[in-house]
Symmetry: C2
Subunit: 326 residues, 2 copies
């Protein structure tokens, strides 16, 4: 299906009214907190593409006109996503996110752990207040997947044999499960039937794969100012993402880097050399092709849904996930 | 009111059947997680007095025979408490808890932050599965209080002027708010009226004050093997708890320690000297008297409730809070 609408992730005019409402409610949730929490969170929430609220909303609009449940389910999804980012920054010891210093960098791990917990609780407060029990079910499962996945990943032994399957299992838990939960939540709020809710979940899963694959490419090819975080952070953290998996499959470079990449402490200068070789290899192109494959599958699932402008926007958005920041 | 029942916190024969059921469901929640999360949590959950589930249950039984909502509300309360302990250990860099090494000590901060998030999510899964929306509301408010309180406390400037009021505001957020939420949850599950739910919340608040005051005394007077954590940890962390506040009010010792206690880095040997002086001063007795005052208020609130064996147990339990590990 070729989409007739043209969107980018940042700004989708067809839903700008609803997104403004979601933004206003999100800010209201933050503003109702006491200082110093309010100030800490206000800064952190100021950035972000709001991809997850958009997916909740669009998934809902595919099945019904906008309703209160969609709005607050979208707010809760962004809160959960943000809470997990705050904790990820503690875990990864990240200094920058969304082109700003992280909460752990400015206020310390202590405040960042608690601020993340606070935002999680806010999300559940919203879900509870608007009786969004089924959405809560989807989101709670996704949080558990995210945590269990990251714990599992951290306890992997330095892994020479990390392969595509393992990578997909990891990104499913880490990213795709929450995106799938967002799409299911939206469809549920739009009173879609069980089968269609499951379909939207599957759409979200493939979109989530594509999103994370592109994130992992941008970690290699992006620059700090575009990404809002340091380049090749994954490499420094010893995370073998898809571009590196494909690099290791290269007949020449694979042999060169096999041992080096399994060593969690890279020698000085080695990082730049790996990135240079990676960019000149076919690995990046191959990784993009994989992301495109995921988008294709996501779009095929959408094809089975009733036609609507929102389905077209979702189709278009799936493609934009690949083109962002390229 | 003089209680005719005799309980200790560890074991209350009158509710042992219900507590076994709660324990079984708590363990089932843990066991349904995948490895390695399951193993990590199983160890951590093995300890604990289960004070919060007991309070949920007893507060419910004051108003109605046992029901499913009480059981799962109690399970969720223990999960939330445990999640917050896991994160507290990260924040406080604690090595020991419940006479075992902490999750952060064994597996690192990374795993501990995620394990705490996982357990929070499990709590909400339980609350959601059993439609415990009102309990979720109480508990979510308490989590926010706990986090906001601890963030506020950490951002206090090294505080010479910390007084009793400030101390009570801190322990209300840190401890008493969750205990109050437990009592409200139980009463709610027991279908108590709004006024009685509020009363049970107030009872929990005073009990929570007493509980934390005694905890802060035991931090000074207990030994590591009894407490399952290092002695005078608060002092090392620069936390001026009630025993120290009263020490500073001592006409002689107050002047001696005013500047020393406001200095977050204690000189070697100073800790032992402070503890020695504290034990010989009137501060500990005064602090116990304050805890007893709180217990008295808690019991007065109970007096207004319909008579039952469970009310008597709660009355008795309030006294036991003070006598524990003494």
């Amino acid at each position: 299906m070729i989409s007739t609408v043209n969107t980018n992730i940042e700004d989708i005019p067809q839903i700008s009214k609803e997104m403004k409402l979601i933004e206003r409610e999100l800010m209201r949730v933050i503003e109702e907190s006491d200082e110093p929490v309010r100030g800490i969170l206000r800064d952190f929430f100021a950035g972000g593409k709001r991809l997850r609220p958009k997916l909740v909303l669009l998934s809902g609009l595919c099945f019904s006109p906008v309703n209160t449940k969609m709005i607050y389910s979208a707010v809760a999804a962004e809160l959960i996503h943000t809470a997990s980012l705050i904790h990820d920054d503690v875990i990864d010891r990240s200094d920058y996110r969304r082109n700003r210093p992280t909460i752990n960098y400015v206020y310390g791990n202590h405040t960042a752990v608690l601020a993340g917990d606070f935002v999680f609780a806010k999300a559940f407060e919203v879900l509870c207040r608007y009786n969004l029990n089924r959405c809560m079910g989807y989101l709670v499962d996704a949080i558990q997947e995210m945590c269990a996945g990251e714990i599992m990943q951290a306890r992997d032994s330095p892994d020479k044999t990390v392969d595509e399957d393992h990578y997909f299992r990891t990104i499913e838990k880490k990213t795709a499960s929450l995106i799938a939960a967002c799409c299911k939540s939206g469809a549920d709020c739009g009173k879609a039937g069980e089968v269609q809710i499951e379909k939207m979940g599957l759409f979200g899963l493939y979109l989530g794969y594509a999103f994370q694959i592109v994130d992992d490419i941008l970690d290699v090819t992006g620059d700090t100012s575009e990404m809002g975080k340091p380049v090749a952070h994954d490499l420094e953290e010893g995370k073998i993402t898809l571009p590196y998996i494909y690099l290791l499959q290269d007949s020449v470079l694979g042999a060169k880097y096999r041992d080096i990449l399994s060593d969690r402490k890279l020698a000085a200068g080695m990082k730049a050399q790996i990135i240079r070789d990676l960019k000149q290899s076919a690995a990046i192109t191959k990784t993009y092709a994989k992301a495109e494959e995921c988008v294709k599958k996501a779009r095929e699932i959408l094809d089975g849904l009733p036609d609507s402008i929102y389905k077209e926007i979702l189709t278009d958005l799936s493609g934009k996930v690949i083109k962002r920041n390229r």
